[in-house]
Protein backbone atom coordinates (compact mmCIF):
# COMPACT_ATOMS: atom_id res chain seq x y z
CA UNK A 1 0.00 0.00 0.00
CA UNK A 2 1.45 3.41 -0.90
CA UNK A 3 2.52 5.44 2.10
CA UNK A 4 0.27 8.39 1.21
CA UNK A 5 -2.81 6.17 1.11
CA UNK A 6 -1.77 4.53 4.37
CA UNK A 7 -1.46 7.97 6.00
CA UNK A 8 -4.83 9.02 4.69
CA UNK A 9 -6.54 5.89 6.01
CA UNK A 10 -4.85 6.30 9.41
CA UNK A 11 -5.80 9.97 9.76
CA UNK A 12 -9.39 9.50 8.77
CA UNK A 13 -9.98 5.99 10.09
CA UNK A 14 -12.86 6.86 12.38
CA UNK A 15 -14.54 8.92 9.68
CA UNK A 16 -14.13 6.14 7.10
CA UNK A 17 -15.53 3.58 9.53
CA UNK A 18 -18.50 5.75 10.45
CA UNK A 19 -19.24 6.37 6.75
CA UNK A 20 -19.62 2.63 6.27
CA UNK A 21 -21.65 2.18 9.47
CA UNK A 22 -23.95 5.10 8.63
CA UNK A 23 -24.39 3.65 5.14
CA UNK A 24 -25.64 0.40 6.68
CA UNK A 25 -27.96 2.37 8.98
CA UNK A 26 -29.35 4.31 6.02
CA UNK A 27 -30.03 1.00 4.24
CA UNK A 28 -31.80 -0.34 7.31
CA UNK A 29 -34.03 2.76 7.28
CA UNK A 30 -34.57 2.38 3.53
CA UNK A 31 -35.97 -1.14 3.93
CA UNK A 32 -38.76 0.15 6.21
CA UNK A 33 -39.49 3.36 4.31
CA UNK A 34 -39.60 1.43 1.03
CA UNK A 35 -42.85 -0.20 2.14
CA UNK A 36 -44.30 3.06 3.41
CA UNK A 37 -43.75 2.41 7.13
CA UNK A 38 -41.82 4.54 9.59
CA UNK A 39 -39.69 2.98 12.31
CA UNK A 40 -38.00 5.19 14.86
CA UNK A 41 -36.39 2.21 16.49
CA UNK A 42 -33.36 1.97 14.18
CA UNK A 43 -31.09 3.56 16.77
CA UNK A 44 -32.39 1.20 19.45
CA UNK A 45 -31.89 -1.86 17.21
CA UNK A 46 -28.36 -0.57 16.55
CA UNK A 47 -27.77 -0.21 20.29
CA UNK A 48 -29.04 -3.71 21.01
CA UNK A 49 -26.70 -5.13 18.35
CA UNK A 50 -23.78 -3.07 19.61
CA UNK A 51 -24.21 -4.06 23.25
CA UNK A 52 -24.94 -7.73 22.48
CA UNK A 53 -21.81 -8.16 20.36
CA UNK A 54 -19.60 -6.08 22.67
CA UNK A 55 -20.65 -8.09 25.73
CA UNK A 56 -20.00 -11.34 23.83
CA UNK A 57 -16.56 -10.06 22.81
CA UNK A 58 -15.67 -8.97 26.33
CA UNK A 59 -16.96 -12.03 28.19
CA UNK A 60 -16.79 -14.99 25.81
CA UNK A 61 -14.41 -16.35 23.23
CA UNK A 62 -17.01 -16.82 20.50
CA UNK A 63 -15.79 -16.44 16.92
CA UNK A 64 -16.55 -12.96 15.57
CA UNK A 65 -18.99 -14.09 12.82
CA UNK A 66 -21.15 -15.77 15.48
CA UNK A 67 -21.16 -12.55 17.51
CA UNK A 68 -22.27 -10.64 14.44
CA UNK A 69 -25.04 -13.18 13.92
CA UNK A 70 -26.19 -12.63 17.51
CA UNK A 71 -26.05 -8.87 16.96
CA UNK A 72 -28.49 -9.35 14.08
CA UNK A 73 -30.80 -11.94 15.63
CA UNK A 74 -31.41 -10.24 18.99
CA UNK A 75 -32.67 -6.95 17.44
CA UNK A 76 -34.71 -9.08 15.04
CA UNK A 77 -36.49 -10.62 18.04
CA UNK A 78 -37.24 -7.12 19.35
CA UNK A 79 -38.58 -6.16 15.92
CA UNK A 80 -40.90 -9.19 15.94
CA UNK A 81 -42.25 -8.28 19.37
CA UNK A 82 -42.90 -4.65 18.40
CA UNK A 83 -44.07 -5.39 14.87
CA UNK A 84 -46.58 -8.13 15.64
CA UNK A 85 -49.14 -5.86 17.33
CA UNK A 86 -48.39 -2.60 15.49
CA UNK A 87 -48.09 -3.64 11.86
CA UNK A 88 -51.75 -4.67 11.79
CA UNK A 89 -52.62 -1.02 12.49
CA UNK A 90 -51.97 2.20 10.59
CA UNK A 91 -48.38 3.37 10.20
CA UNK A 92 -48.58 5.84 13.07
CA UNK A 93 -48.65 3.05 15.64
CA UNK A 94 -45.32 1.51 14.59
CA UNK A 95 -43.70 4.93 14.71
CA UNK A 96 -45.04 5.69 18.19
CA UNK A 97 -44.22 2.25 19.59
CA UNK A 98 -40.65 2.30 18.27
CA UNK A 99 -39.98 5.85 19.46
CA UNK A 100 -40.31 4.60 23.04
CA UNK A 101 -38.02 1.64 22.44
CA UNK A 102 -34.87 3.78 22.39
CA UNK A 103 -35.81 5.44 25.65
CA UNK A 104 -36.53 2.09 27.31
CA UNK A 105 -33.15 0.78 26.14
CA UNK A 106 -31.39 3.83 27.57
CA UNK A 107 -33.08 3.43 30.95
CA UNK A 108 -32.13 -0.22 31.04
CA UNK A 109 -28.52 0.36 29.96
CA UNK A 110 -27.93 3.11 32.51
CA UNK A 111 -29.37 1.09 35.39
CA UNK A 112 -27.69 -2.21 34.61
CA UNK A 113 -24.19 -2.82 36.01
CA UNK A 114 -23.66 -5.65 33.56
CA UNK A 115 -23.74 -3.21 30.63
CA UNK A 116 -21.39 -0.75 32.33
CA UNK A 117 -24.13 1.65 33.46
CA UNK A 118 -23.79 5.28 32.48
CA UNK A 119 -20.10 4.79 31.67
CA UNK A 120 -20.82 2.36 28.87
CA UNK A 121 -18.45 -0.34 27.67
CA UNK A 122 -14.85 0.38 26.72
CA UNK A 123 -11.93 -1.68 25.57
CA UNK A 124 -13.96 -3.56 22.97
CA UNK A 125 -11.45 -5.37 20.75
CA UNK A 126 -11.02 -3.70 17.33
CA UNK A 127 -12.16 -6.64 15.24
CA UNK A 128 -14.03 -4.69 12.56
CA UNK A 129 -11.66 -3.37 9.91
CA UNK A 130 -12.52 -1.39 6.79
CA UNK A 131 -12.65 -4.59 4.72
CA UNK A 132 -15.33 -6.12 6.91
CA UNK A 133 -17.39 -2.92 7.23
CA UNK A 134 -17.34 -2.16 3.53
CA UNK A 135 -17.77 -5.85 2.66
CA UNK A 136 -20.99 -5.91 4.71
CA UNK A 137 -22.12 -2.62 3.18
CA UNK A 138 -21.47 -3.87 -0.36
CA UNK A 139 -23.22 -7.18 0.30
CA UNK A 140 -26.25 -5.42 1.83
CA UNK A 141 -26.44 -2.92 -1.05
CA UNK A 142 -26.19 -5.67 -3.66
CA UNK A 143 -28.82 -7.79 -1.95
CA UNK A 144 -31.23 -4.87 -1.58
CA UNK A 145 -30.60 -3.80 -5.16
CA UNK A 146 -31.49 -7.27 -6.45
CA UNK A 147 -34.58 -7.39 -4.21
CA UNK A 148 -35.70 -3.94 -5.35
CA UNK A 149 -35.49 -5.04 -8.96
CA UNK A 150 -37.39 -8.27 -8.39
CA UNK A 151 -41.02 -9.21 -7.91
CA UNK A 152 -40.64 -8.55 -4.18
CA UNK A 153 -39.43 -5.03 -4.91
CA UNK A 154 -42.47 -4.36 -7.08
CA UNK A 155 -44.73 -5.59 -4.28
CA UNK A 156 -42.92 -3.30 -1.84
CA UNK A 157 -43.39 -0.33 -4.13
CA UNK A 158 -47.06 -1.19 -4.55
CA UNK A 159 -47.50 -1.22 -0.76
CA UNK A 160 -45.75 2.16 -0.47
CA UNK A 161 -47.93 3.75 -3.13
CA UNK A 162 -51.31 2.33 -2.08
CA UNK A 163 -51.71 -0.32 0.58
CA UNK A 164 -55.33 -1.05 -0.18
CA UNK A 165 -54.70 -1.51 -3.90
CA UNK A 166 -51.70 -3.73 -3.16
CA UNK A 167 -53.73 -5.90 -0.79
CA UNK A 168 -56.49 -6.27 -3.38
CA UNK A 169 -53.88 -7.32 -5.93
CA UNK A 170 -52.89 -10.18 -3.68
CA UNK A 171 -49.86 -8.75 -1.87
CA UNK A 172 -49.58 -10.31 1.59
CA UNK A 173 -49.27 -7.03 3.53
CA UNK A 174 -48.52 -8.35 7.05
CA UNK A 175 -45.82 -10.67 5.78
CA UNK A 176 -44.05 -8.00 3.72
CA UNK A 177 -44.23 -5.44 6.49
CA UNK A 178 -42.95 -7.82 9.13
CA UNK A 179 -40.13 -9.10 6.93
CA UNK A 180 -39.08 -5.54 6.12
CA UNK A 181 -39.03 -4.54 9.78
CA UNK A 182 -37.06 -7.63 10.82
CA UNK A 183 -34.53 -7.23 8.01
CA UNK A 184 -34.09 -3.58 8.89
CA UNK A 185 -33.54 -4.45 12.57
CA UNK A 186 -30.91 -6.99 11.51
CA UNK A 187 -29.09 -4.44 9.36
CA UNK A 188 -29.17 -1.88 12.17
CA UNK A 189 -27.92 -4.48 14.66
CA UNK A 190 -25.07 -5.37 12.32
CA UNK A 191 -24.18 -1.70 11.95
CA UNK A 192 -24.17 -1.36 15.73
CA UNK A 193 -21.89 -4.36 16.19
CA UNK A 194 -19.45 -3.15 13.52
CA UNK A 195 -19.43 0.33 15.04
CA UNK A 196 -18.75 -1.07 18.53
CA UNK A 197 -15.82 -3.12 17.24
CA UNK A 198 -14.40 -0.26 15.19
CA UNK A 199 -14.59 2.50 17.80
CA UNK A 200 -13.89 0.29 20.90
CA UNK A 201 -16.28 2.35 23.06
CA UNK A 202 -20.08 2.44 23.30
CA UNK A 203 -22.26 4.39 25.72
CA UNK A 204 -25.93 4.27 26.70
CA UNK A 205 -26.72 7.72 25.28
CA UNK A 206 -25.65 6.98 21.71
CA UNK A 207 -28.90 5.31 20.70
CA UNK A 208 -31.65 7.73 21.66
CA UNK A 209 -34.09 10.01 19.90
CA UNK A 210 -31.43 12.18 18.21
CA UNK A 211 -29.72 9.14 16.72
CA UNK A 212 -33.02 7.73 15.46
CA UNK A 213 -33.95 11.00 13.76
CA UNK A 214 -30.47 11.35 12.27
CA UNK A 215 -30.77 7.91 10.67
CA UNK A 216 -34.13 8.95 9.23
CA UNK A 217 -32.58 12.11 7.80
CA UNK A 218 -30.01 10.03 5.84
CA UNK A 219 -32.73 8.10 4.06
CA UNK A 220 -35.03 11.08 3.48
CA UNK A 221 -32.26 13.32 2.10
CA UNK A 222 -31.16 10.65 -0.37
CA UNK A 223 -34.65 9.49 -1.24
CA UNK A 224 -36.18 6.05 -0.99
CA UNK A 225 -36.50 5.34 -4.71
CA UNK A 226 -33.50 3.00 -4.53
CA UNK A 227 -30.95 1.82 -1.93
CA UNK A 228 -28.40 4.19 -3.51
CA UNK A 229 -30.48 7.19 -2.54
CA UNK A 230 -30.25 6.35 1.14
CA UNK A 231 -26.52 5.61 0.81
CA UNK A 232 -25.97 9.00 -0.82
CA UNK A 233 -27.88 10.67 2.01
CA UNK A 234 -25.68 9.01 4.62
CA UNK A 235 -22.54 9.99 2.68
CA UNK A 236 -23.54 13.66 2.44
CA UNK A 237 -24.71 14.00 6.03
CA UNK A 238 -21.64 12.25 7.45
CA UNK A 239 -19.17 14.27 5.38
CA UNK A 240 -20.88 17.67 5.53
CA UNK A 241 -19.96 18.51 9.14
CA UNK A 242 -16.37 17.35 8.46
CA UNK A 243 -16.00 19.62 5.47
CA UNK A 244 -17.79 22.59 6.99
CA UNK A 245 -16.15 22.74 10.41
CA UNK A 246 -18.42 25.51 11.78
CA UNK A 247 -21.35 23.22 11.10
CA UNK A 248 -20.25 20.72 13.73
CA UNK A 249 -22.09 22.32 16.63
CA UNK A 250 -25.21 22.58 14.54
CA UNK A 251 -25.13 19.21 12.82
CA UNK A 252 -28.35 18.04 14.46
CA UNK A 253 -30.05 21.37 13.67
CA UNK A 254 -29.08 20.81 10.04
CA UNK A 255 -30.30 17.20 10.09
CA UNK A 256 -33.65 18.36 11.44
CA UNK A 257 -33.97 21.10 8.84
CA UNK A 258 -33.08 18.62 6.09
CA UNK A 259 -35.93 16.30 7.08
CA UNK A 260 -38.40 19.19 6.97
CA UNK A 261 -37.18 20.46 3.59
CA UNK A 262 -36.91 16.95 2.14
CA UNK A 263 -40.46 15.97 3.05
CA UNK A 264 -42.00 19.30 2.04
CA UNK A 265 -40.09 20.20 -1.09
CA UNK A 266 -38.19 17.20 -2.41
CA UNK A 267 -40.24 14.13 -1.63
CA UNK A 268 -38.04 12.02 -3.92
CA UNK A 269 -34.72 13.03 -2.36
CA UNK A 270 -31.35 13.69 -3.99
CA UNK A 271 -31.37 10.49 -6.05
CA UNK A 272 -34.88 10.21 -7.45
CA UNK A 273 -34.15 7.60 -10.13
CA UNK A 274 -35.61 4.18 -9.62
CA UNK A 275 -33.76 1.05 -10.65
CA UNK A 276 -35.01 -0.78 -13.72
CA UNK A 277 -36.85 -3.95 -13.02
CA UNK A 278 -35.35 -7.27 -13.98
CA UNK A 279 -36.75 -8.10 -17.39
CA UNK A 280 -38.02 -4.59 -18.10
CA UNK A 281 -37.12 -3.00 -21.41
CA UNK A 282 -35.27 0.29 -20.93
Amino acid sequence: MPAALDDFLWTYQSLIASLGVNGLLALSMYVVLAIGQLSLGQAAFMGVGAYASALLSLHTGLPFPLELAAAMLIPAAFALAIGAPTLRLSGVYLALATIGLGELLRIFLIQSDFTGGALGLSGIPAKAGFTLIYGCLAAATLALMLITRSRIGRAMEAIREDETAAAVSGVDLPRYKMTALVVSAMLAGLAGALNAHASSFIGPNDYGFDAAVTILSYALLGGVGSPFGSLAGALVLTLLPEILRPLQDFRLVVNGAIIVVAVLYMPHGLIPWRPLRIGARP
Binding site: G36, I82, V92, Y93, G100, L252, G256, A257, V263
Partner: protein, 292 residues
Protein backbone atom coordinates in the same frame (compact mmCIF):
# COMPACT_ATOMS: atom_id res chain seq x y z
CA UNK B 1 -46.78 5.58 53.02
CA UNK B 2 -49.43 4.15 50.71
CA UNK B 3 -51.40 7.41 50.93
CA UNK B 4 -48.30 9.38 49.92
CA UNK B 5 -47.64 7.01 47.00
CA UNK B 6 -51.21 7.44 45.82
CA UNK B 7 -50.95 11.24 46.09
CA UNK B 8 -47.67 11.19 44.16
CA UNK B 9 -49.29 8.95 41.58
CA UNK B 10 -52.31 11.20 41.15
CA UNK B 11 -50.10 14.30 40.81
CA UNK B 12 -47.79 12.67 38.26
CA UNK B 13 -50.77 11.16 36.46
CA UNK B 14 -52.57 14.51 36.31
CA UNK B 15 -49.40 16.04 34.86
CA UNK B 16 -49.28 13.37 32.13
CA UNK B 17 -52.99 13.79 31.48
CA UNK B 18 -52.72 17.58 31.36
CA UNK B 19 -49.94 17.34 28.80
CA UNK B 20 -51.67 14.63 26.79
CA UNK B 21 -55.03 16.48 26.49
CA UNK B 22 -53.79 18.76 23.73
CA UNK B 23 -51.73 15.99 22.17
CA UNK B 24 -54.73 13.73 21.75
CA UNK B 25 -56.93 16.62 20.61
CA UNK B 26 -54.45 17.44 17.82
CA UNK B 27 -54.63 13.89 16.65
CA UNK B 28 -58.37 13.63 17.06
CA UNK B 29 -59.23 16.73 15.04
CA UNK B 30 -56.27 17.29 12.73
CA UNK B 31 -55.50 13.56 12.24
CA UNK B 32 -51.76 14.03 12.62
CA UNK B 33 -49.27 13.06 15.27
CA UNK B 34 -47.64 16.42 15.85
CA UNK B 35 -44.29 15.73 17.49
CA UNK B 36 -43.53 19.43 17.90
CA UNK B 37 -46.11 19.28 20.69
CA UNK B 38 -43.37 18.45 23.21
CA UNK B 39 -41.52 21.58 22.12
CA UNK B 40 -44.47 23.82 23.07
CA UNK B 41 -44.18 22.31 26.54
CA UNK B 42 -40.50 23.32 26.82
CA UNK B 43 -41.20 26.68 25.17
CA UNK B 44 -43.99 27.41 27.68
CA UNK B 45 -41.67 26.71 30.61
CA UNK B 46 -38.91 28.94 29.21
CA UNK B 47 -41.33 31.76 28.37
CA UNK B 48 -42.65 31.74 31.93
CA UNK B 49 -39.10 31.59 33.27
CA UNK B 50 -38.19 34.61 31.15
CA UNK B 51 -41.25 36.52 32.38
CA UNK B 52 -40.69 35.70 36.06
CA UNK B 53 -37.00 36.60 35.86
CA UNK B 54 -38.18 40.02 34.68
CA UNK B 55 -40.34 40.37 37.77
CA UNK B 56 -43.71 39.11 36.58
CA UNK B 57 -45.75 37.19 39.18
CA UNK B 58 -46.65 33.62 38.25
CA UNK B 59 -50.32 34.58 37.85
CA UNK B 60 -49.24 36.77 34.92
CA UNK B 61 -46.39 34.59 33.63
CA UNK B 62 -48.57 31.49 33.27
CA UNK B 63 -51.20 32.98 30.94
CA UNK B 64 -48.49 34.85 29.03
CA UNK B 65 -46.55 31.62 28.42
CA UNK B 66 -49.69 29.71 27.47
CA UNK B 67 -50.85 32.32 24.95
CA UNK B 68 -47.38 32.73 23.44
CA UNK B 69 -47.00 28.94 23.13
CA UNK B 70 -50.40 28.88 21.45
CA UNK B 71 -49.24 31.38 18.82
CA UNK B 72 -46.02 29.41 18.29
CA UNK B 73 -48.17 26.35 17.66
CA UNK B 74 -50.36 28.16 15.13
CA UNK B 75 -47.28 29.44 13.32
CA UNK B 76 -45.50 26.06 13.21
CA UNK B 77 -48.66 24.28 12.16
CA UNK B 78 -49.18 26.53 9.16
CA UNK B 79 -45.47 26.58 8.25
CA UNK B 80 -45.02 22.82 8.40
CA UNK B 81 -48.34 21.19 7.73
CA UNK B 82 -50.58 23.36 5.55
CA UNK B 83 -48.65 22.40 2.41
CA UNK B 84 -48.98 18.70 3.18
CA UNK B 85 -52.71 19.13 3.85
CA UNK B 86 -53.22 20.76 0.47
CA UNK B 87 -51.44 17.86 -1.22
CA UNK B 88 -53.35 15.36 0.95
CA UNK B 89 -50.01 13.72 1.70
CA UNK B 90 -49.92 10.40 3.57
CA UNK B 91 -50.11 10.70 7.36
CA UNK B 92 -46.52 9.55 7.83
CA UNK B 93 -45.28 12.54 5.84
CA UNK B 94 -46.66 14.91 8.47
CA UNK B 95 -45.19 12.76 11.23
CA UNK B 96 -41.78 12.97 9.56
CA UNK B 97 -41.96 16.74 9.05
CA UNK B 98 -42.80 17.35 12.69
CA UNK B 99 -40.08 14.91 13.69
CA UNK B 100 -37.48 16.87 11.72
CA UNK B 101 -38.83 20.13 13.09
CA UNK B 102 -38.62 18.73 16.62
CA UNK B 103 -34.95 17.88 16.24
CA UNK B 104 -34.34 21.30 14.67
CA UNK B 105 -36.18 23.18 17.44
CA UNK B 106 -34.71 21.28 20.40
CA UNK B 107 -31.12 21.39 19.18
CA UNK B 108 -31.52 25.01 18.05
CA UNK B 109 -32.90 25.98 21.45
CA UNK B 110 -30.07 24.14 23.22
CA UNK B 111 -27.49 25.88 21.03
CA UNK B 112 -29.03 29.27 21.86
CA UNK B 113 -29.69 29.01 25.59
CA UNK B 114 -27.58 26.06 26.70
CA UNK B 115 -28.62 22.78 28.25
CA UNK B 116 -28.04 23.72 31.91
CA UNK B 117 -30.92 23.22 34.30
CA UNK B 118 -32.58 26.56 35.05
CA UNK B 119 -34.85 27.35 37.99
CA UNK B 120 -37.70 29.73 38.70
CA UNK B 121 -36.90 32.56 41.17
CA UNK B 122 -37.35 31.61 44.83
CA UNK B 123 -40.60 32.46 46.54
CA UNK B 124 -42.56 32.56 43.30
CA UNK B 125 -45.21 30.31 44.74
CA UNK B 126 -45.96 29.13 48.28
CA UNK B 127 -43.71 26.08 48.63
CA UNK B 128 -44.58 24.80 52.13
CA UNK B 129 -46.63 21.62 51.58
CA UNK B 130 -49.96 20.88 53.22
CA UNK B 131 -49.67 17.94 55.61
CA UNK B 132 -52.30 15.47 56.71
CA UNK B 133 -52.16 11.88 58.03
CA UNK B 134 -48.39 11.82 57.48
CA UNK B 135 -48.70 12.65 53.77
CA UNK B 136 -48.05 15.97 52.07
CA UNK B 137 -49.01 17.82 48.91
CA UNK B 138 -47.81 21.21 47.64
CA UNK B 139 -49.80 24.08 46.19
CA UNK B 140 -48.32 23.50 42.72
CA UNK B 141 -49.32 19.85 42.88
CA UNK B 142 -52.88 20.78 43.79
CA UNK B 143 -52.89 23.24 40.89
CA UNK B 144 -51.77 20.51 38.48
CA UNK B 145 -54.49 18.09 39.59
CA UNK B 146 -57.18 20.80 39.48
CA UNK B 147 -56.08 22.12 36.07
CA UNK B 148 -56.02 18.66 34.53
CA UNK B 149 -59.50 17.85 35.81
CA UNK B 150 -61.04 21.21 34.90
CA UNK B 151 -59.38 21.33 31.50
CA UNK B 152 -60.52 17.82 30.56
CA UNK B 153 -64.08 18.65 31.67
CA UNK B 154 -63.92 21.99 29.80
CA UNK B 155 -62.64 20.36 26.60
CA UNK B 156 -65.30 17.68 26.67
CA UNK B 157 -67.89 20.44 27.28
CA UNK B 158 -66.63 22.50 24.35
CA UNK B 159 -66.54 19.46 22.06
CA UNK B 160 -70.05 18.33 23.00
CA UNK B 161 -71.96 21.57 23.56
CA UNK B 162 -70.66 24.37 21.35
CA UNK B 163 -70.81 25.06 17.62
CA UNK B 164 -67.00 25.19 17.46
CA UNK B 165 -66.91 21.80 19.15
CA UNK B 166 -69.44 20.45 16.68
CA UNK B 167 -67.29 21.77 13.83
CA UNK B 168 -64.21 20.11 15.40
CA UNK B 169 -66.00 16.79 15.65
CA UNK B 170 -67.22 17.13 12.08
CA UNK B 171 -63.66 17.75 10.92
CA UNK B 172 -62.44 14.75 12.86
CA UNK B 173 -65.05 12.67 11.07
CA UNK B 174 -64.55 13.96 7.55
CA UNK B 175 -62.82 17.29 6.74
CA UNK B 176 -64.00 17.45 3.11
CA UNK B 177 -67.63 16.91 4.04
CA UNK B 178 -67.24 19.45 6.85
CA UNK B 179 -65.92 22.03 4.43
CA UNK B 180 -68.84 21.39 2.06
CA UNK B 181 -71.23 21.98 4.98
CA UNK B 182 -69.80 25.47 5.36
CA UNK B 183 -67.23 24.91 8.11
CA UNK B 184 -64.23 27.23 7.86
CA UNK B 185 -61.75 24.36 8.28
CA UNK B 186 -58.72 26.67 8.23
CA UNK B 187 -60.09 28.69 11.15
CA UNK B 188 -60.95 25.54 13.11
CA UNK B 189 -57.45 24.18 12.52
CA UNK B 190 -55.92 27.41 13.82
CA UNK B 191 -58.15 27.33 16.88
CA UNK B 192 -57.29 23.71 17.62
CA UNK B 193 -53.57 24.42 17.13
CA UNK B 194 -53.75 27.44 19.42
CA UNK B 195 -55.63 25.52 22.06
CA UNK B 196 -53.18 22.62 21.94
CA UNK B 197 -50.14 24.92 22.06
CA UNK B 198 -51.63 26.80 25.00
CA UNK B 199 -52.38 23.57 26.89
CA UNK B 200 -48.84 22.29 26.28
CA UNK B 201 -47.35 25.65 27.29
CA UNK B 202 -49.40 25.88 30.48
CA UNK B 203 -48.55 22.31 31.45
CA UNK B 204 -44.87 23.11 30.82
CA UNK B 205 -45.07 26.02 33.28
CA UNK B 206 -46.89 24.00 35.96
CA UNK B 207 -44.69 20.94 35.67
CA UNK B 208 -41.57 23.12 35.46
CA UNK B 209 -42.72 24.74 38.72
CA UNK B 210 -43.33 21.42 40.40
CA UNK B 211 -39.95 19.90 39.47
CA UNK B 212 -38.31 23.33 39.67
CA UNK B 213 -35.98 22.30 36.86
CA UNK B 214 -36.25 23.55 33.29
CA UNK B 215 -34.21 22.08 30.46
CA UNK B 216 -34.66 22.28 26.68
CA UNK B 217 -35.35 18.55 26.42
CA UNK B 218 -38.00 18.40 29.18
CA UNK B 219 -40.66 18.32 26.47
CA UNK B 220 -39.13 15.27 24.82
CA UNK B 221 -39.19 13.24 28.01
CA UNK B 222 -42.79 14.30 28.52
CA UNK B 223 -43.70 13.52 24.91
CA UNK B 224 -42.47 9.94 25.34
CA UNK B 225 -44.85 9.56 28.30
CA UNK B 226 -47.49 11.35 26.25
CA UNK B 227 -47.39 8.70 23.50
CA UNK B 228 -48.13 6.01 26.06
CA UNK B 229 -50.99 8.09 27.50
CA UNK B 230 -52.68 8.87 24.19
CA UNK B 231 -52.39 5.33 22.86
CA UNK B 232 -53.63 3.81 26.12
CA UNK B 233 -56.51 6.32 26.22
CA UNK B 234 -57.23 5.90 22.52
CA UNK B 235 -55.92 8.35 19.91
CA UNK B 236 -58.20 11.41 19.91
CA UNK B 237 -60.11 10.51 23.07
CA UNK B 238 -59.98 13.39 25.61
CA UNK B 239 -61.63 11.53 28.49
CA UNK B 240 -59.52 8.47 27.75
CA UNK B 241 -56.34 10.57 27.98
CA UNK B 242 -57.31 11.79 31.47
CA UNK B 243 -57.95 8.27 32.75
CA UNK B 244 -54.91 6.78 31.01
CA UNK B 245 -52.68 9.55 32.41
CA UNK B 246 -53.90 8.92 35.95
CA UNK B 247 -53.50 5.18 35.50
CA UNK B 248 -49.91 5.47 34.28
CA UNK B 249 -49.05 7.96 37.04
CA UNK B 250 -50.49 5.70 39.76
CA UNK B 251 -48.81 2.56 38.42
CA UNK B 252 -45.49 4.42 38.21
CA UNK B 253 -45.77 5.66 41.78
CA UNK B 254 -46.68 2.21 43.08
CA UNK B 255 -43.85 0.63 41.08
CA UNK B 256 -41.40 3.15 42.48
CA UNK B 257 -42.74 2.64 46.00
CA UNK B 258 -43.07 -1.12 46.15
CA UNK B 259 -40.85 -2.65 43.46
CA UNK B 260 -38.03 -0.35 42.45
CA UNK B 261 -37.75 3.19 41.15
CA UNK B 262 -35.46 1.80 38.43
CA UNK B 263 -38.45 0.36 36.60
CA UNK B 264 -40.68 3.41 37.06
CA UNK B 265 -39.98 4.90 33.65
CA UNK B 266 -40.50 1.57 31.90
CA UNK B 267 -44.12 1.34 33.11
CA UNK B 268 -45.55 3.67 30.46
CA UNK B 269 -43.81 1.94 27.61
CA UNK B 270 -44.77 -1.55 28.78
CA UNK B 271 -48.40 -0.43 29.10
CA UNK B 272 -48.17 0.99 25.58
CA UNK B 273 -46.96 -2.31 24.11
CA UNK B 274 -49.53 -4.29 26.12
CA UNK B 275 -52.29 -1.95 24.89
CA UNK B 276 -51.22 -2.43 21.30
CA UNK B 277 -51.35 -6.20 21.75
CA UNK B 278 -54.66 -6.36 23.58
CA UNK B 279 -56.71 -3.26 22.76
CA UNK B 280 -54.98 -1.38 19.91
CA UNK B 281 -57.59 1.38 19.77
CA UNK B 282 -57.20 2.28 23.42
CA UNK B 283 -58.92 1.26 26.63
CA UNK B 284 -62.26 2.70 25.54
CA UNK B 285 -61.79 2.81 21.78
CA UNK B 286 -63.69 1.11 19.03
CA UNK B 287 -61.89 -0.33 16.04
CA UNK B 288 -62.33 1.65 12.84
CA UNK B 289 -60.76 -0.58 10.26
CA UNK B 290 -60.64 0.64 6.71
CA UNK B 291 -61.27 -2.22 4.38
CA UNK B 292 -60.87 -2.41 0.66
Amino acid sequence: MLLQQIINGIVAGSAYALFALGFTLTFGVLKIVNLTYGFYFSAGAYLALFATLHGAPITLALPFAAIAAGFIAVFLDSALLSRLRRQQAPELASLMVTLGATLFLYTGMTALIGSEIQRFPLGLIESAPFRFNGASISLTQIAIVMTAGLLAAGLIGVLRATRTGLAMRAMAENPQAGELMGIDTGAIMRRVSFLCGAIAGASGVLIGLEHNAITPYMGETMALKGFAVIILGGLGDVGGALIAGLLIGLLEALTAGYISSIYKDAVGFLLLVLTLWARPFGLFGRASVRRA
